[in-house]
């Protein structure tokens, strides 16, 4: 298990990085945390002829916020994001999702943007970004392009970045605080494994306790992370009683199109989608009502 040969480039600015990508096109891969890419290279499932290491670009590890948006730079590590007070307070769902990615030792090196760009349909962060209506900021020689999460994830390990584009940042709208709760729940074979299924949910209640806004996205149930929009519509304006949540879970499960693998068949993933949608909604609602003491 040794990588094929490649040329190594370590640009010192975003401009230089996009120049290199423009020169080498699809033969080049961006190397950030390397927790997925290097693994694929070691097994020669990925054989880029050029590796553009962006770890030496200054200021790309930023985690900040302005005007209601949280910004996460291309080499901000998952562990940093998980622990950043700013992320925990303004997009708690994202921090919760980060805390469930792999093991601490992996999260210390693995980047948030890298995980999103890798577009593993089972991974936590793409689903969380989708539930949060996040965006990916892409840079190329042509300039900057902002891609909605829903347009970013195309298929398994496939995103909508052009070969000359470099994902420099995530933008995540700050989650409302008032009567709002969120939850990321997942089931994996072992602690730290990619989930067989995960559900990320944000629920805002109105003053009467009915659902004012619900956003639900799942991982592990299809070619890409799935946004459960029909379920969101179903919940709108309704009081989140057990029966409604069960109905929501049913509707979500029916919308999935899972791919089976050695860890879980398609049918089991659909079953988990039902269970986890319900559980994530229950937790999110409890948190919105401030009933959840862990929140």
């Amino acid at each position: 298990m040794k990588p094929a040969a490649f040329a190594y480039l370590a640009p010192s600015s975003v401009e230089e990085a996009v120049d290199r990508l423009a020169e080498h096109g699809p033969d080049a891969r961006v190397l950030a945390g390397g927790q997925s890419l290097v693994r694929l290279m070691n097994t020669r499932l990925a054989t880029p002829s050029v590796v553009v290491d962006v770890n030496r670009i200054p200021d790309l590890d930023h985690i900040g916020a302005d005007n209601g948006t949280v910004h996460v730079g291309a080499i901000a590590r998952q562990r940093s994001c998980e622990l950043a007070p700013l992320v925990r307070s303004r997009v708690p769902l994202f921090a919760e999702a980060c805390s469930q990615v792999a093991h601490v030792s992996v999260r210390k090196r693995g980047t948030v943007v890298g995980s999103v760009a890798f577009a593993d349909p089972c991974a936590e962060l793409p689903a969380a970004l989708l539930a949060l209506d996040g965006q990916v900021v892409a840079r190329s020689r042509a300039g900057e392009r902002v891609i909605d999460a829903d347009d970013f994830f195309v298929g398994p390990f496939e995103n909508s970045l052009a070969p000359d584009e470099f994902a420099v940042e995530l933008r995540i709208p700050v989650t409302a605080v008032e009567r709002t709760g969120s939850a990321f729940v997942e089931v994996s074979r072992r602690h730290g494994d990619l989930p067989m299924c995960g559900a990320s949910t944000v629920v805002q209640l109105d003053e009467d306790g009915a659902v004012a806004n619900a956003r639900i996205a799942l991982c592990g149930v299809g070619q890409r992370p799935m946004r459960a929009r029909d379920t969101e519509d179903l919940l709108l304006g309704q009081r989140p009683a057990d029966e409604l949540l069960a109905q929501a879970a049913e509707l979500t499960a029916a919308a999935t199109d899972p791919i089976g693998d050695c860890h879980a068949s398609a049918a089991f993933r659909r079953h988990l989608a039902r269970v986890l949608t319900r559980r994530s909604l229950q937790t999110a609602v409890a948190r919105a009502r401030k009933e959840d003491t862990d929140a």
Binding site: M1, K2, P3, A4, A5, F6, A7, Y8, A10, L31, G34, Q35, V38, R39, M41, N42, T43, V51, D53, N55, A102, H103, V104, S105, V106, K108, R109, H191, G192
Partner: protein, 178 residues
Amino acid sequence: MPDKIRISLTVNGVGHDVLVEPRMLLVDFLRDELQLTGTHAGCEQGVCGACTVLLDGETTRSCLLFAAQLDGSSVRTVESLARPDGSLHPIQRAFTENHGLQCGFCTPGMLMAACELLEHTPLPEPEDVKDALSGNLCRCTGYQNIVRSVCAAGRVLATAENGSHPASETAETTGASA
């Protein structure tokens, strides 16, 4: 074959100024180029943690990093722990006193991960150890004695830092002394 990359790095306090092939993994660089074979490769895809080293003080899997990336970095491996006079590092001592190893293959990775944990969490609870070391697989011990070893090492190091002599008794098992 693409051009080699010149890097300057420090490994266990020793400076190296070398040319490396871009694809040379850090684990192979340490083992094959520097003959520091204490760092082991178990899976070469970042799952088992056997190759864990400290990169600028943080644990990292040396199978998922290219040596070419390390210009200006500082790496610590298991070879840095014991002294040349044969005295073991307190963490190593805790591992032997608590029988925290059997075949020893995963042990260097466990030790380096423990080093980092104890740096930030001097007196860890078993749950802290599990969170910090869960990315390191051991097939022999069932982990219980590894967790005990790390907790015990924390107590010894904390005592030492308070100025008194490191306690020699770190064994937790009843009757663990002969």
